[in-house]
Symmetry: C2
Subunit: 186 residues, 2 copies
DNA sequence: CCACGTAGCGACAGTCACTGACGCTATCAG
DNA sequence: CTGATAGCGTCAGTGACTGTCGCTACGTGG
């Protein structure tokens, strides 16, 4: 295993986050990111597909946790409850990454281009969840619906948690899922 | 009001859709689109913010219908039922645009860059729906949740309708909303 | 019928994200 | 010590997008 690029990759991640926060996404060039990470611009593009991807580098880990949790859920559990379990399984990871996630969120919040990528990322996660539910025997269209509704509940819980990180995120997720079922009235 | 750009704009829309279908999104340049529409490349960018936007030009109309329908819904209706009404109000527009929407969908389906933009567009719609629900007195977080769940139900209905355009889309929407409420089990 | 103001347009130059190709080098297995 | 390989730098190139400037088509007021 010649040369370990993970160091450079980590430096690029940090450099990009810093620069995006300092002067904004649009005002920083990939050349500047590369320079701060002390690599060539070409190397940046060897590690990340484009200027946006740097900010979304941890996704695979989350994805794996969600898929495993769906697969491990007991048989006969209702789809939405499976989603609650899956997202609850990811809570430790989310809590651990909270401070970095906050900084990322600040940048994304003021950058349409990054919001677009963020939407695509969550869409990718719902695709994976849909497939995982489908593997459990849930019909495709229903699996997709459940994945999206579960994701919506998770987002609702995440936002509440962001405003008050003291409460248990897992509890908020369960509560948000319950709230979904009250949306139809009576 | 000197010069009416709407003609050129329409030609650009048609030219882009044609080219994207003929040779694919990545393989067509904005210069080619402009050339086929018989305008300069600069004019393309006066009408559309970027290479993707050409394909998403009708959105404002849909947005207006949804907002109006939410505002016009009777008081005391449950949030999810309001969503069903809103999307049902948009059915005529959707049916009318079906053939063009199909062509667009084909291109989007094979182009990640366009999928990303499509996600952003639906996110924009849910934002608007959230605001409209909020204006009816629904709490912000609940409004957002309802908007997202409603959008998920609408997508589920749309997909079913795409596979069988004979059935009534409005009925599918109502059914999808009901299905959401069964996702939690018992 | 004629200035005249305005919105759209073309032309041009420039920046920057991103890609392909080539050759080099650090590192590890043998 | 040597060879294989993954990561890297350099260079050249394409194409999306922007700012600027001057022009022109067209409806309006005289």
């Amino acid at each position: 295993m010649p040369r370990d690029g993970s160091k450079a990759r980590a430096r690029l991640r940090a450099a990009a986050l810093d620069l995006y926060r300092e002067r904004g996404y649009d005002e920083t060039t990939t050349a500047q990111i590369a320079a701060r990470a002390e690599v060539s611009e070409r190397t940046y593009f060897r590690h990340f597909a484009d200027k946006r991807e740097v900010l979304f580098d941890g996704e695979a880990e989350l994805r794996a946790i969600l898929v495993d949790a769906v697969a491990a859920a007991p048989d006969g559990l209702a789809p939405l409850q499976v989603m609650v379990r899956a997202f609850s399984a990811a809570v430790p990871l989310i809590v651990a990454n909270r401070s970095v996630a906050e900084q990322r969120a600040e940048v994304i919040a003021v950058t349409p281009a990054l919001q677009e990528r963020a939407y695509a990322k969550t869409a990718g996660l719902t695709d994976v969840l849909e497939a995982a539910l489908s593997a459990r025997g849930v019909t495709r269209p229903t699996a997709r619906l459940a994945a999206q509704v579960g994701m919506a509940a998770f987002e609702r819980a995440s936002r509440a948690w962001a405003g008050d990180p003291e409460v248990d995120l897992a509890a908020l997720i369960a509560r948000a899922a319950d709230e979904v079922l009250t949306l139809g009235g009576t």
